[in-house]
């Protein structure tokens, strides 16, 4: 008697538990959770800030049809895997991991959660449930390279670089080639700070570059510190990832602005409609993922015209920033006359083009 009562109790609670589980699953199905992992703080006014703008756009677009959450300040490395795993385990339907260094952790976690969709920004590894997306920032770099070549008086551009990954190397090469095309005497001084976000160190790097004669700053780091420094020094700079004019109203000539909203909306829509598939997206100026902040009033009309012609040419597909003849730094040929760089070449770029001084860290 006692045994059967116990059995009933066990059976009863198992059924209740199962029902709760089914109910939870059903609930999860009706309301997908969209998660984001950021490498910096959402208040960085750069890279992570722009991705967070994308999350806000999703909320505005889909309202209470989706749940959203995010984790900021996630270091690239073992911590990232833990965070992504936690999100996947706690019911996320789709997880956007928004930094290059999250690539391997994303792939690893994705292998454990076949039902969760993953989207990794700026990487090159896909899986059936991992899509990648990136923006052709080098198109924007071409435009600011042209402007820098025209606007520098010391013929020296200071470049604050983060890590020697293809995306950053591609940006340096693109800006240099463009600057060189309008100013044969141009020199690029490049400083690698080995961080995406450290305002103090970015300022120190900017200072070092200016002390050594640079009068225009470009950056591939995430904080507005260099822009602020340029404003103080009375020189010019280009913003990174978002419009940094508020930090340098006189200094900023323009910014390369990342606009992830259209992509995020498209992908979450596909998820809701059940048509999501893995893909590799690389949009640029044409699709609006890469845009340029309003020109500074300090730019003369001919420079604005030059920049706009280039921008429109890239959008129309008539201009490719990497069109031969281009040699590598060591003098070996890369692109023949009129040849355009393939995406594969760009995404694995690990060399400076001819004319850039200094050694590229490996």
């Amino acid at each position: 008697m006692r045994a059967s009562r116990l059995a009933k109790l066990v059976a009863g609670s198992a059924v209740a538990g199962l029902m709760a589980l089914v109910g939870w699953a059903a609930h999860a199905q009706t309301k997908p959770k969209v998660s984001f992992v950021y490498v910096g703080p959402i208040g960085d006014h750069g890279w992570s800030y722009q991705h967070h703008q994308g999350l806000q756009a999703l909320k505005a677009e889909f309202g209470d049809k989706i749940d959203t959450n995010y984790v900021e300040n996630v270091p690239e490395g073992p911590d990232a895997e833990r965070v992504i795993d936690q999100l996947a385990a706690s019911g996320s339907s789709i997880i956007f991991t928004t930094s290059f260094g999250f690539m391997n952790p994303t792939i690893k976690v994705a292998a454990r959660y076949a039902n969760v969709k993953f989207e990794h920004a700026t990487g090159f590894k896909q899986a059936p449930n991992v899509a990648t997306y990136n923006a052709r920032f080098y198109e924007g770099r071409h435009v600011i390279g042209l402007i820098a070549g025209k606007m520098t008086k010391t013929n020296t551009v200071g470049y604050i670089a983060s890590f020697p990954i293809p995306e950053v190397v591609m940006g340096i090469n693109s800006a240099y080639l463009a600057a060189k095309s309008v100013n044969p005497n141009i020199k690029f001084k490049i400083v690698w700070v080995s961080t995406w976000f450290d305002p103090g160190k970015e300022t120190d790097a900017a200072k070092a570059l200016v002390d050594q004669g640079a009068d225009i700053l470009m950056q591939h780091t995430d904080s507005p510190a260099a822009m602020k420094f340029a404003e103080e020094k009375g020189i010019y700079a280009f913003g990174q990832a978002s419009d940094m004019a508020s930090f340098g109203p006189n200094a900023q000539l323009t910014s390369i602005v990342d606009n992830w909203r259209p992509y995020y909306i498209r992908r979450v829509k596909a998820l809701l409609e059940g048509t999501w598939q893995t893909s590799d997206t690389w949009d640029g100026i044409k699709q609006g993922t890469v845009s340029l902040a309003p020109w500074s009033r300090k730019l003369p009309a001919d420079v604005v015209k030059l920049a706009e012609t280039a921008r429109d040419g890239i959008a129309a597909g008539t201009l490719h920033p990497f069109t031969g003849p281009i040699n590598k730094q060591d003098g070996s040929p890369w692109l023949k006359e009129g040849e355009k760089a393939s995406d594969k070449d760009l995404l694995s770029m690990n060399f400076y083009v001819a004319g850039i001084e200094g050694a590229l860290p490996k």
């Binding site: 208040g43 103090g200 200072k207 070092a208 490996k362």
Partner: protein, 306 residues
């Protein structure tokens, strides 16, 4: 010469936030308290200073706010670790994260704003001397204050009765208590001095070095300051040496990259850490002496025997 002067000045500026935070932490640790929340105290000091300068336009009030907020954070740590006798390592880590979160909340609405230029010293005649003038007499007052603090801490710890008592409670709190010193009260004071200095270091970052507010702008400097204290074997002048070495090599490696020196950037980035540790370990290699200066009660909870 101009470039050399600029490099030296940049190095001093890069070192100063570390120096403030480390010299404060040194006093707390010499009194026997291990406060790991330096990063949190620095970032709270940074936003306290920044928000005050925006509101009042007064640099002095901003510094006062940074000092006060750092001290309050340290007092909070004291409540946890000294009064409630919670684990010091865990409390410090928790407060460090709390500081980062609090500053992010506090700082909403302050990003994008600009702090007014920080006043620089100008001594007529002296500041005009080429090279040395700018270097020695043309900096912001906080650099001189940080150097003064090192001298003051060294003097107080080694030469005064107060310093002797602080060291005594760090060395053996039971003995110090037995002869009548108020261990907990003195530790609160040492802690709050440490917090005040960390707050000042944070404010140096947000008011002088990078005059703007962005979340997490301390970017790990609190942890470097903590390491400096241990590697300097708890000696004030070695903390100064360590901070200036770290700042100097950071700036030098940036300049050498801009000059096109062919050394791997990753190696150069590692150099400040490596060189600082090696130099401090080498000059502090006398094990007996290090044991003598390392506070024996560091991190241990104090129970007053009833």
């Amino acid at each position: 010469m101009e470039l050399l002067a600029n490099i030296l000045i940049s190095a001093m500026i890069a070192a100063t936030p570390l120096l403030f935070a480390a010299i404060g932490e040194l006093v707390a640790e010499r009194s026997g308290v291990l406060n790991l929340s330096v990063e949190g105290m620095m970032i709270v000091g940074a936003i306290a200073g920044f928000s005050t300068v925006i509101a009042t336009k007064s640099v002095l009030l901003a510094l006062a706010a940074a000092i006060a907020s750092g001290a309050v954070m340290a007092a909070l740590f004291g409540v946890l670790a000294l009064t409630l006798r919670a684990n010091q390592v865990a409390s410090g880590l928790a407060l460090s994260m709390f500081g980062l979160g609090l500053s992010a909340l506090w700082g909403q609405g302050y990003s994008g704003l600009s702090a007014p230029a920080f006043p620089r010293l100008f001594v007529p005649g002296l500041s005009d001397i080429p090279f040395l003038g700018k270097l020695l007499f043309g900096q912001d007052g906080l650099i001189y204050l940080s150097l003064t603090m090192v001298a003051a801490v060294a003097w107080v710890l080694d030469r005064t009765r107060l310093g002797l008592i602080v060291r005594a409670i760090g060395e053996n709190h039971d003995a110090a208590h037995a002869i009548g010193y108020r261990v907990v009260a003195l530790r609160y004071l040492a802690l709050m001095f440490g917090g005040a200095m960390a707050g000042l270091g944070g404010a140096y970052l947000s008011l002088v070095q990078t005059p703007l507010w962005v979340e997490r702008m301390t970017a790990g400097r609190g942890w470097i300051a903590l390491a400096l204290v241990a590697f300097a074997a708890w000696r004030p002048w070695r903390v100064l040496l360590g901070a200036y070495l770290f700042g100097g090599i950071t700036i030098l490696q940036l300049h050498s990259q801009a000059l096109g020196v062919k050394i791997d950037a990753q190696l150069l980035s590692m150099l400040p850490y490596l060189a600082t540790i090696v130099v401090l370990v080498v000059i502090s290699r006398d094990v007996v002496k290090v044991k003598l200066t390392a506070p024996q009660c560091l991190g241990k909870p104090f129970h007053a025997a009833d």
